[in-house]
Each structure stands twice: as structure tokens, then as C-alpha cells.
Amino acid sequence: MPNALPFKRLTTNSTEWITVYIEGQPVKIRQGDSAAAAVLVAGLQPSRTTVVSGSGRAPYCMMGVCFECLLKIDGVENVQGCMTPACDGMQIVSQQQARQLNRTDFSDSDLSSANLSNKNLTDKKNEDPSV
């Protein structure tokens, strides 16, 4: 993958080099770099597409606020890349629009948990759910 972006490393940074895989391609980064930094080094553009319109996005604030750096990391979707330290062998791919929650298979669990009572609820019978 081309190193398309003009980022330069500080020479004071002397940690070990590790390898992560971005869209399947190996990329050398420093131990301690975030997953978002890795996609910037790799020049992955866009690194996600938005949920509603599908337009492209890339890491922006790098401090956990803007949610533009969402990535699929080791199979888990919607991970904030800037808040995730990269590790050797990590598989990083772009986040394509909305996350798919894992559907639940209830075929066995119905029987095993059907007797669980519910002790933590504060619902009243006539609860009016709207505000």
C-alpha cells in the first residue's frame, strides 16, 4: 500500500517496529502507534464510509472525540482506531457504513434461560413510555 501521506516520524521515537495488516497488506509501524495512525501511515483513504450517505472519512481528531476513525479491527466493527493501540499481526480494514450486530441464535437458549426471573426492573404496570 502506498505511503501517500506526508507524515514524518519524530526521531526521538525509538520503539520496536511491528507489522499490522491493512486491508490485508503488511505495514510496518512502531510499537505504541494507534490503529488510526497505522491507517494514516498506510494511506488508507477512506478508512470508513458514513452510515447514512456512504461518503468517505479518515481519522481526524486522534483523541477519541470525533468518531471519524472507526475501523474494523480483528473482526470487530466500529472500533475507534485512535483509541486502540496497534499490536503485531493486527488485522485492520475500513469500516463500511453501519455495524452489523451479531444476530442471536435462540434455538437452544430459550429453554435454558426461560426460568430466569427479572429482579432488577422498576417498571410499573401502567408505565407510560413517552416523555
Binding site: 466500529n78 453501519a98 450486530l101 404496570k125 413510555p129 416523555v131
Partner: protein, 374 residues
């Protein structure tokens, strides 16, 4: 913000106090009746229930001890499609109204049976015309396959729905301004003085005059109502709401506790807390809401929570609205409720028509504050 420099700019046929969902809906309906309207809004130091609500257009179970409330809630739900369409035509803003029915999930068999009994009583009170169904878990999963094994069942209300409440607020604001309405949010109205020709309203930023005045200031009505011979014995009731990351759609119907927006955001509610004027959040309540939602839909167990907020409901002692005209000072009206979204179409329509004409076919006599002093 609009600057009001001359006296003529500070006069209107009607001054509406409160620029939230309730005040704007009434104001739009008054404009439709040909009246000039100024909204006097406290500004963002106000409690802002309209920014914190859940967005349900909800009918089932409302008014179980007051058939008139059930009737006006259903009437508003029926008027909603037209209300949303008019806002869209005027502003281009789609408030994302969806009225395909809604579900109230119950986590125990006794809870489900009690709810079924309540809705059955409401059906009897409505002379048989009160649509709902009780679903067991298997039937519920035909609507929502992801309902979890701890769910006993649900009640289905075909007239229920939801929308995006922030888009609703914005659409009404834009439409009101398009029609020449004025919004001043330079401070709280501290004094209302009845005069020979209407009412003089005073804030730190100056004075306004309205031939009529509508109190739609939520919990702020408590202090305003007595100044025009009305009473608004309202109390705050806190609800906390959780917002999760956007995920692919799995919830095609709103439920009483969980809904998914058009964009995929999951919204989890809610709590009912008597904590005074504290709109904050607490970890224990957030945990409880998250736990209950993941019991209802186990696939939520690993969904990410993005933020949470608290907002204060505007509650009367019996939970029902206040619609009342001042006898002592004709021209002063009180409009307040905790379900400003559901009742929005009613407020823009028949409630505004009542204020504009002083006549109505709605059973408003049951919604005055005298019921609390009997």
C-alpha cells in the same frame, strides 16, 4: 437572534411563552388562524425537555384512568401524518415520522397479564374501539426476531409510532420563522401584567405586549400561571436516556424502552425519578436501563454506549395535561403536558383553534387544574 428595537416589533396578537415543542406547535396553529405570534423563550439556560425526550408518538396505555386523554392522544396520532407532511412541504425537513405500530415488551408473565387487563379496560371504556393485541414471545418474534428468551411477550398498538424529535423542533422553528413569526430568547419572562388591551410581559431584556398570552413554558409555567389567574402544579420527573452507536437496522418497530432511528442509532430508555430539578445522569440508572434493554434484545449486549442524558418531564400530579383558559383574565391560556411529541399534531390543530376562536369540541373541561383542588 432577532433584535427587537421598536415598540411595534414588541407587539403581537399572541405571545407564546416557551419555544419548545409545545409552544411552537401552538404558535404554528395560531399563525394558521391568521394571528401574528411572538415566541418568548428563556434561552438555553431553560430546562429544555424538548431536547431530551424519546421521540415516541405513543397511544397504547395512555389515559387508562381518563378516557378523554386516551381520546385526544389517539386523535393527535391520527392528525400526525398531515402535520408531518405540512412541515415537510414548508421546510423540506422530514421529521422521520413512522406510524406502523409499536410494541411494549414485558419481562414477566404477570406484567404482561396486567398490561393486557389494563388495555382491555381501556377498550371497554372506549366502547370497543381501542385497537391492541397481546402477543406471546413467539408472536412477538414475528415482529422482532431478536426479542430475547427472557421476554414474556408484548402488547401491540397499531396506532403507535415514533419520529426524530430534534428534527421536529427544527422544522417547526423554521416554519414559524418563514411565516413571519418572531422568536426572542433573551431571557426568562419574570412578570405578566394583565392590561386593558391584553398582557404586558417583562424580562430582563425588556417588555412585550400580546393581546393574548399562551403559557407553554413547561415547568416554568409554575411561576407564570398564578400571574394570570391560573394554576400549574407541575413537578419535574427525570428520565435518563442512553444513546448507542449506529448499527444496521434490526428493530423495525419502536418499543416502549428501545427504538432505532432512521440512521441506525439505538436509543434506550428510560427511568422515572423523583429527584427535583436535577437533569443529570447516574451510573446505577444507566446500568439498569442497559441491563433491561439487553434482556429484551440480547444482541445489544456488546453494542457500544456513546452517551447518556437526563431530562425532566413536565408532570402534573395525575400525569394528564393542563389545557385551561383563564376566567379571571380572558385571553390567557395554559397548555402543558409531558407528551409534547405525541400531542404535537393536536396542539397545532384543535388546541390552537380553541385558543384562536375560544371555542372547541374537545372535552377540555377535564384538563383544567381545578381537578387538583377538589
Amino acid at each position: 437572534m432577532t433584535q427587537f428595537s421598536t415598540d411595534s416589533q414588541r407587539r403581537a396578537d399572541v405571545c407564546v411563552l416557551g419555544g419548545g415543542i409545545v409552544g411552537l406547535a401552538v404558535a404554528l396553529g395560531l399563525q394558521r388562524n391568521g394571528l401574528s405570534v411572538t415566541i418568548l423563550d428563556e434561552g438555553d439556560s431553560a430546562l429544555r425537555a424538548s431536547r431530551g425526550n424519546f421521540g415516541l408518538v405513543w397511544v397504547q396505555g395512555k389515559g387508562d384512568t381518563l378516557p378523554e386523554y386516551a381520546a385526544i392522544s389517539r386523535l393527535s396520532a391520527q392528525l400526525w401524518a398531515n402535520h408531518a407532511q405540512q412541515l415537510k412541504d414548508a421546510t423540506g425537513i422530514d421529521v422521520q415520522l413512522q406510524q406502523r405500530g409499536g410494541l411494549f415488551l414485558c419481562l414477566s408473565e404477570p406484567e404482561l397479564r396486567e398490561r393486557q387487563a389494563m388495555l382491555t379496560r381501556m377498550r371497554v371504556a372506549a366502547g370497543g374501539d381501542y385497537p391492541f393485541e397481546t402477543l406471546d414471545l413467539q408472536q412477538l418474534r414475528e415482529f422482532i426476531p431478536e426479542a430475547g428468551p427472557e421476554v414474556a411477550g408484548a402488547t401491540w398498538g397499531p396506532e403507535d409510532g415514533h419520529l426524530n424529535p430534534l428534527l421536529y423542533l427544527r422544522a417547526m422553528t423554521e416554519h414559524f420563522l418563514q411565516r413571519g413569526g418572531k422568536i426572542d430568547n433573551s431571557g426568562k419572562i419574570s412578570r405578566i401584567e394583565p392590561t386593558d388591551s391584553g398582557f404586558t410581559l417583562t424580562s430582563d431584556a425588556g417588555q412585550w405586549h400580546g393581546d393574548q398570552v399562551v403559557l407553554a413554558a413547561g415547568l416554568g409555567n409554575r411561576d407564570l400561571a398564578p400571574q394570570v389567574g391560573l394554576s400549574a402544579p407541575l413537578v419535574p420527573n427525570r428520565g435518563q436516556v442512553l444513546i448507542c452507536e449506529r448499527v444496521k437496522p434490526f428493530l423495525n418497530y419502536p418499543t416502549g424502552h428501545v427504538r432505532q432511528t432512521n440512521e441506525g442509532t439505538l436509543q434506550l430508555g428510560d427511568s422515572k425519578e423523583d429527584v427535583g430539578f436535577d437533569p443529570g445522569t447516574t451510573t446505577d440508572v444507566i446500568a439498569k436501563i442497559a441491563h433491561r434493554a439487553s434482556q429484551m434484545f440480547p444482541l445489544l449486549r456488546d453494542v457500544r454506549l456513546i452517551r447518556a442524558w437526563g431530562a425532566l418531564r413536565v408532570m402534573t400530579p395525575d400525569g394528564y395535561p393542563l389545557y385551561e383558559a383563564s376566567k379571571q383574565y380572558p385571553g390567557a391560556y395554559l397548555v402543558t403536558c409531558h407528551s409534547g411529541v405525541t400531542l404535537g399534531a393536536l396542539h397545532e390543530g384543535p388546541i390552537a383553534d380553541w385558543i384562536a376562536s375560544d371555542r372547541t369540541e374537545l372535552p377540555l373541561e377535564v384538563f383544567n387544574a381545578k381537578r387538583f383542588t377538589l
